[in-house]
């Protein structure tokens, strides 16, 4: 526990020295965050390997009951991605951000505070402490998103994020108020059995789902996410997408762990929302041209996968089926870790691209694979993992959920498992298409504009964190058995039966075996290919085009066109297609984009309407004193009459 608290302090203090140091402030911050990482990981791993979870009480008057920090398996598990990504992001920031802008020290300070809030949040086990960390996290993230507030786009994104997160927090106010009322204390505690089925239980479920859903980016509460992730500095986007969203999941996990007997429909709701988020998330990703927006929509998709897992586990819990419960919860939790690893990796490499070329627009990039080999390798690993392809970590977590769903088919007429199966299958296929598009458009072929042509490989300090994350992805993918015991302990928090026999799954060993075989085969074949002599410096043949140039390349939009059209009914793409006529048509432009359904089609218009309405009501404050006095008189009369009547 002491180690954990020290990690908290180190993280909080990481940005402070930089305020006074003229130089090397960034290195100090990285050092402190590294220290925090080591200490925190030490503490967390100790707990996850079966050690005793410590606890620490904050005693201040305003808390009433002393506020507890408890490092239980759940906290330890969620702390790992926080610490890892925080360190990687900071290190990356040295190359990405330092010296580029004026506000570097402030950015460092807030970054450190954000990490501290996250570390505090995962361990918080008291309503007020939790809310404190929660809001601190939200505000710090807001300030980080605003790092480039000179752009109007960034300001808009930041504002939307601020409003969304605060709305979520207000739902949590209500939820925790009800919780405290039902459990009778402000520390975290399990709900009494049988309560979940009552109206209060329903209210709690709904409020927590809304409050945490906003943070997790669950559809349709996701609308703040794409703009914010696109606007934030890339290492911050990595942290937000990799860790902040997961805090919403953490909240749901905590809540589910307090409920001994969830009704069957809770699981159903979770599965339905998961399928919605997953499918629409990836579908909207297909329609994006902005690399970081695309990644942001994929975060929504992965949140969907996690929700599918949680839903499966909850179904198992209410059906009293330990296998479903274990596999569902374990899969969801592992996917939390995995997603933070590979999504962090993807955002970091996307940032490297932005850093090198100055654009996020897929249609202006291309051909970076030759100029930035390491970055492209990192991005490839990330895409590989996020598509859930073996032998990387994404496959393992999805495999667990698949397995649970298949097992679920066995019992009765449950329709949910097959929903999960189909959603996962479709999500997988679409994600594959989407990342083929993204990787192809950015790294393969020829540079489409000068932006790509002049690119140079990112500095080592940026490549190193990517390498770390990539290796982590590979490790979990090849040797899943390593994480299973810990995962089991965490899953047990969600239900006593859960987590049992996770390590006994025969498949895991076989998976690593197949993974090794795969590697070996690839190596052999590679060896067989390598000695082939290169026949001169030639262009792409392409059926005889003498000089294939970038303008003939298949663009990202055209790559996705087929699927986007197929999903027209869901995406409502906005297409501007010029009419080309005559024998010598003049120069023209085609463009298509996919606006966000909630933000651009629901939230913004309704807000505009509200503003109009308010403008009408403004006459009430028209400036004429007699009218104001009339208000007083009328108020008086109304109250007197009401009193008499």
């Amino acid at each position: 526990m002491k180690l954990y608290l020290l990690a908290l302090l180190a993280a909080a203090a990481s940005g402070v020295p930089g305020l006074w140091m003229r130089r090397r402030g960034g290195e100090v911050a990285v050092g402190l965050l590294g220290l925090a990482g080591v200490l925190g990981l030490w503490a967390s791993l100790a707990v996850l390997s079966g050690g005793p979870g410590g606890s620490f009480a904050i005693r201040t008057a305003s808390l009433g009951t002393p506020g507890l920090l408890v490092v239980d398996p759940v906290a330890a598990f969620f702390a790992i991605p926080v610490l890892v990504l925080a360190f990687c992001g900071a290190l990356y920031g040295l190359g990405y951000w330092e010296g580029r802008r004026g506000n570097t020290p402030a950015l460092r300070l807030v970054y450190g505070l954000l990490v501290a809030c996250l570390v505090l949040l995962v361990a918080a086990s008291h309503i007020l402490v939790f809310l404190l960390a929660w809001e601190g996290m939200a505000i710090a993230a807001f300030l980080l998103v605003m790092a480039e507030d000179r752009e109007a786009e960034t300001r808009r994104a930041g504002w939307i994020y601020l409003v969304a997160t605060h709305t979520g927090t207000l739902f949590l106010f209500a939820a925790f108020a009800l919780l405290a009322r039902t459990t009778g204390q402000s520390g975290f505690a399990a709900l009494p059995a049988g309560l979940a089925a009552t109206g209060a239980g329903t209210a709690l479920f709904a409020l927590f789902l809304l409050g945490f859903g906003f943070k997790a980016g669950m559809l349709p509460l996701h609308f703040w996410l794409p703009p914010a992730h696109a606007a934030a500095p890339s290492h911050v986007s990595a942290l937000m997408s990799g860790v902040l969203l997961k805090m919403g999941i953490l909240g749901l996990v905590r809540f589910l762990s307090w409920v001994p007997d969830p009704p069957l429909w809770w699981g159903g709701v979770l599965v339905a929302l998961g399928a919605l988020s997953g499918l629409l998330g990836v579908a909207f990703a297909l329609g994006q041209h902005d690399l970081k927006r695309l990644l942001a929509y994929h975060s929504i998709e992965n949140i969907g996968i996690i929700l599918l897992g949680l839903g499966l586990g909850t179904l198992g819990k209410s059906l009293g089926n330990p296998v479903m419960q274990t596999l569902g919860y374990a899969g969801a939790l592992l996917h939390v870790l995995n997603h933070s690893l590979f999504k962090g990796l993807l955002f970091l490499s996307a940032g490297a691209v932005l850093h090198a070329t100055g654009t996020r627009d897929l249609e202006r990039l291309g051909g970076l694979g030759q100029r930035m080999p390491w970055t492209s390798g990192a991005f490839l690993v990330g895409s590989w993992a996020i598509c859930g392809l073996p032998p990387l970590n994404g496959f393992v977590s999805e495999w667990l959920i698949y397995l649970g769903a298949f097992r679920g088919l066995g019992l009765g007429r449950q329709a949910w498992p097959v929903v999960i199966l189909l959603s996962l299958a479709l999500i997988g296929a679409l994600a594959l298409a989407c990342f083929a598009k993204a990787f192809g458009a950015v790294f393969l072929g020829l540079p489409r504009t000068g932006a790509g042509a002049g690119a140079r490989e990112a500095p080592r300090v940026m490549l190193l964190p990517m390498g770390v994350l990539a290796l982590a992805c590979l490790a979990i993918g090849v040797a899943p058995l390593l994480v299973m015991p810990a995962l089991g302990r965490v899953a047990e928090a969600l239900g006593p039966a859960a987590g049992a026999g996770l390590s006994a799954l025969g498949g895991l060993g076989a998976i690593s075996g197949v993974a090794l075989a795969l590697g070996l085969l690839a190596l052999l074949l590679w060896r067989w290919l390598r000695p082939v002599p290169q026949a001169g410096d030639l262009p792409t043949w392409d059926c005889g085009y003498a000089a294939p140039d970038a303008r003939m390349e298949y663009t990202a939009s055209s790559f996705a066109d087929g699927l986007v059209r197929g999903l027209r009914w869901a995406l409502w793409p906005v297409v501007h297609r010029p009419r080309v006529s005559g024998w010598f048509p003049r120069l023209t432009r085609y463009e298509s984009h996919v606006p966000d359904p909630v933000l651009d089609r629901a939230a913004a218009p309704s807000l505009r309407l509200t503003v109009k309405g308010a403008a009408l009501l403004r006459v009430a404050q028209g400036g004429a004193l007699p009218v104001y006095l009339l208000y007083v008189l009328l108020t008086l009369l109304v109250l007197l009459v009401w009193m008499v009547a």
Binding site: Y402, G445, L505, G507, L538, E553
Partner: protein, 308 residues
């Protein structure tokens, strides 16, 4: 000890040899059938073996735009195919590797192969290959649900998650679930044709690149890489073939009978594909999705039948 293990070892050896040597025969068979149907003599059945041998000796040509990703396609395709082949039983002889949930690994290995092939196509920066890659990605997205619905139905029927028991179910799968089984196989045949880019989804030996899916993705491959591409394709024919043949095959008492049955069925499948190819024309690109959706519906309906 050794005596008891011997059959298993032999079986595995035979499995390996089949995977390594047999595949190139299947395209030959298909081509032969088509030729005979068209009243031509056609190339020899072993033509692909000759081609592979020749390509292995040829120099390869690489465009200046390509990177190592360009080679990852062929390599990944073959590696994944071989890995997948260890998971699927050939007829009623069990697969070398088999465990709870190998179904998913099996499906995702083919996903991996597809992913790498698409990337290596995009690596050339050619517009044709980009087009092919896009089509591959689009259509396979539709094939995936059909495959998984079939698995779901079988899993429900056999309450098992291992290809070995799901496909080569010892009990009365074929008799008790005849209706659903037929639907599943029908759906899977569609998947089979699509995944192996055969008519009516794709025409492997057309000469109009605009209409190709798979062939156009490998336009720029040559020499050994191209050899790997061709071998990988034929391997896919074999492995997926095993997937759809096994449930249909009766279980024999002796191992050799099972092998024989499997080989005969495989040959039959190749001939059948040949017949299909020579009896019908390629669909218009816009019709293909409908064709694949039909496969999804078939398997989905099969699953519903399993529920009741």
């Amino acid at each position: 000890m050794v005596r008891s293990l011997l059959p298993t070892i032999l079986q595995t050896l035979l499995h390996g040899l089949t995977v390594l040597l047999l595949p190139p025969l299947l395209p030959g068979l298909i081509a032969k059938t088509k030729a005979l149907m068209a009243g031509r003599q056609g190339p020899p059945v072993l033509q692909l073996y000759y081609d592979l041998a020749k390509l292995a000796r040829k120099r390869a040509v690489f465009s200046r735009t390509t990177t190592w990703v360009f080679l990852a396609g062929p390599v990944g395709g073959v590696a994944a195919g071989l890995a997948a082949s260890c998971l699927v039983p050939f007829g009623h002889t069990p697969a070398p590797v088999s465990f709870e949930g190998d179904v998913i690994l099996f499906a995702y290995l083919f996903g991996l192969a597809r992913f790498l092939t698409i990337l290596s196509a995009l690596d050339t920066g050619s517009s044709f290959e980009g087009m092919g890659a896009a089509r591959e990605a689009t259509f396979s997205a539709l094939a995936e649900p059909a495959l998984f619905l079939g698995f779901a139905a079988l899993a429900k029927a056999t309450s098992s998650l291992s290809l070995g028991t799901m496909l080569a179910f010892p009990g009365s799968l074929a008799t008790r679930f005849t209706g659903p089984l037929i639907l599943i196989l029908a759906g899977w045949v569609i998947v089979y044709l699509a995944e192996n880019s055969r008519i009516p989804v794709d025409d492997p030996n057309t000469h109009l690149e605009l209409t190709m899916i798979h062939e156009v993705m490998v336009l720029d491959h040559s020499g050994r890489p191209f050899a790997l591409v061709l071998y990988g394709a034929s391997l896919k024919l074999l492995v997926l073939g095993a997937l759809i043949l096994t449930p249909a095959l009766p279980r024999a008492t002796h191992a050799w009978q099972n092998w024989l049955a499997f080989y005969l069925a495989l040959g039959g499948l190749a001939v059948a594909v040949g017949l299909v190819e020579s009896s019908m024309a390629r669909f218009r690109m816009t019709k293909v999705p409908q064709f694949l959706v039909a496969g999804v519906l078939a398997t989905g309906f099969a699953f519903l039948l399993m529920l009741v």
